[in-house]
């Protein structure tokens, strides 16, 4: 491989089509608990993404840089498509007797409540509240890019025989996260860029995401009627096995990324590969089906 890497990409949303008719709910063979740990995406991410879209759309009037603005518009379309695509997978869960509503309504309450409160504020406070949310989203997007990079570099999924449609969803989503990894941080730097905002928001994002994700996983394991009581428990031993098998990113991947984000000269473009993301997007079955 060679040293050609596009320095910037004019972002655009891609239309995609996923055919869920043949995908089982337990789409990782012999690892139903792991499948559910990942299924949390379909519950949590659409809520987060639709919140991103609202915050970024509300931020448009403050943007004075044509390039930042163009990137944000491309980002909004991609995030909307991500939310739509996970919604399809969510319907798959519902068809298998798992009602995600108790969890999604909680997350919706939390995030929609935040942006709704902001919308009622007077201009000056409203701007500060939007900046707070943008800082939090920029910190969160750092992790989605890290996860996207993991999805693109996880041959273990193919080796264990993961459902190909679900692998494609993970990698298509991951590739677009890598492709647009700089947008939220660039918006943060354009409108704000104050270092303490960067630090405090990251420190809030880590426990919040961790709590929401684990809560989602526990809820799915409880709600799945086909699991045994032993399977319903998330034990440390299971996590160790998934890390060992290369099916779940471990702390060795997260922790260094955290310190990177807290460095003063951090920029998302230093991590992950646009080339790899674009190479995957040129082959993704869902992206190809969406072009027809």
């Amino acid at each position: 491989m060679t040293a050609i890497e596009p320095t910037s990409v004019a972002l655009h949303a891609r239309d995609v089509q996923f055919d869920w008719s043949k995908t089982p709910v337990h789409w990782v063979p012999d690892e139903p608990e792991l499948a559910h740990f990942y299924n949390v995406m379909h519950l949590l991410l659409p809520e987060l993404e639709l919140w991103f879209v609202q915050v970024f759309t509300d931020a448009l009037p403050y943007i004075t840089d044509a390039k930042v603005r163009e990137d944000v518009l491309g980002f909004i379309g991609q995030e909307n498509m991500h939310a739509n695509a996970h919604q399809g997978a969510l319907d798959l869960l519902a068809a298998n007797g798992i009602d995600p509503e108790p969890y999604t309504s909680q997350v919706h309450h939390l995030l929609q409540g935040w942006i709704d409160r902001t919308r009622k504020m007077k201009p000056k406070r409203r701007k500060q509240s939007l900046l707070n949310q943008i800082a939090v989203i920029a910190a969160g997007e750092h992790f989605t890019a890290v996860l996207g990079d993991f999805a693109l570099n996880s041959p273990a999924f193919d080796e264990v025989g993961t459902d190909p449609v679900m692998s494609d969803l993970l990698r298509w989503h991951g590739a677009e996260e890598v492709e647009h990894r700089s947008v939220a941080f660039d918006l943060f730097r354009h409108l704000d860029g104050r270092y303490p905002m960067q630090v405090v928001s990251m420190l809030a994002v880590i426990p919040a995401l961790w709590m929401l994700w684990h809560r989602g996983a526990r809820m799915l394991l409880e709600a799945d009627p086909t699991l045994t009581p032993k399977q319903r428990k998330l034990t440390l031993r299971k996590f160790r096995r998934w890390h060992r098998r290369g099916l779940l990113p471990n702390a060795k991947i997260y922790l260094p990324q955290l310190t990177h984000y807290l460095k003063g000269d951090y920029h998302p473009s230093h991590y992950g590969s646009t080339t790899q993301a674009i190479a995957y997007l040129a082959t993704s079955p869902a992206a190809k089906a969406g072009q027809q």
Binding site: M1, P6, L60, N84, L110, Q112, L191
Partner: protein, 344 residues
């Protein structure tokens, strides 16, 4: 809004967010956010035509540089410039010079007498004329791979040319099939033959007929990355035939033709916007509300959806429906009859 009362986890997370927010708000009193007016940048530059060269039948190449000879923003193969013509038209032209030359850009334009008028105006430019252009934008990113198949049709050679040079420079395996009406109408053919020798197949329709996707792809290894730029029928036929990774440039959405004019009432301000027969409701709304959200402009992403308060509209979008989608109008593609009232 949900009816469900927040549970312990939601309350804890909300508390956490609230604490973070209070910290940030308090601290922002001492260090307010920067003034974004100081960061205003439209990313436009006014360049001067340094050279006009006849490249092939109806094709000219324009070399552009800064008035004072200053260094220009860098670009990668696949980049284009938005050229803002004095008439107000905006046209996109691929950069086809050498990315290592940091002091000039080269673009090439085929004159299309029946086009929208942009290419005719471009052909009127002479040495010394000023042109306003955007910074280089990349909607056709070229990535490092071991093997490429380049497919170019006519003036579609322009983004491919710097890619071919880059592939040659890094020692990748590559082939180029270059189609066009006739040899005389195909720019850069000689330059490409000198560069690539028998890797380059010049394939004029006059001699070989219009190509099919199967012919162009042939027995290419499925791992080869195909870079394609050409007229829409060529893109369609290759897209249907290609099994492996395929890259092609995404152009702006197709123009609206033969629509029926209608009116959009913006409920929050009471302003009524006229939507013309040849524009989308989004274009009309953006004139009044330049900060309205949108993205794909093709009716699938749903970013421009606005709740409808009254009136009838047709849904020509295929955006997947979520809550309330049926009462929202995807204004980039959907049209209405008479007047529609939107919650914006």
């Amino acid at each position: 809004m949900t009816e469900t009362p927040p549970d312990l986890l939601t309350r804890t997370t909300a508390k956490l967010i609230e604490t973070a927010e209070r910290t940030l708000n308090f601290w922002s009193r001492f260090q307010p956010p920067p003034d974004t007016e100081l960061r205003r940048n439209d990313h436009l530059q006014t360049l001067v035509v340094r050279e006009v060269r006849a490249e092939a039948e109806d094709v000219v190449s324009l070399t552009l540089a800064a008035q004072n000879g200053a260094e220009l923003p860098a670009w990668d193969p696949g980049c284009h410039l938005d050229v803002l013509l004095p008439s107000g038209l905006k046209r996109q032209y691929s950069l086809n010079g050498d990315p290592a030359d940091r002091h000039s850009y080269r673009i090439s334009v085929r004159r299309l007498p029946d086009g929208g008028g942009g290419s005719v105006q471009m052909h009127q430019l002479r040495t010394g004329h000023a042109v306003t252009v955007s910074h280089p934008r990349n909607a056709f990113p070229f990535i490092g791979r071991d093997r490429y198949l380049f497919l170019a049709g006519g003036i579609g050679i322009t983004p491919i040319l710097p890619m071919v040079r880059a592939a040659q420079r890094i020692g990748a395996g590559w082939q180029l099939i270059y189609t066009g009406r006739s040899r005389e109408s195909m720019p850069f053919a000689r330059e490409l033959l000198e560069l690539g020798g028998d890797r380059v197949f010049i394939r004029p329709d006059e001699e070989f007929g219009f190509p099919t996707g199967e012919e162009l792809i042939g027995d290419t290894d499925p791992g080869t990355h195909i870079y394609l730029c050409g007229p829409p029928p060529m893109i369609d036929t290759v897209r249907r035939a290609a099994q492996g990774p395929l890259h092609y440039e995404r152009f702006s959405p197709p123009p609206v033709v033969n629509g029926t004019p209608f009116e959009v009432e913006l409920a929050r301000t009471g302003v009524v916007v006229e939507v013309g027969a040849e524009e989308s409701a989004l274009t009309a709304i953006l004139r009044e509300v330049p900060t309205a959200g949108y993205s794909c402009r093709q009716g699938f992403c749903g970013a421009c959806r606005i709740p409808v308060l009254g009136g009838t509209f047709e849904r020509n979008d295929h955006a997947m429906s979520r809550d309330g989608a049926d009462r929202s109008m995807t204004v980039c593609v959907s049209r209405a009859e008479g007047r529609v009232v939107l919650d914006i």
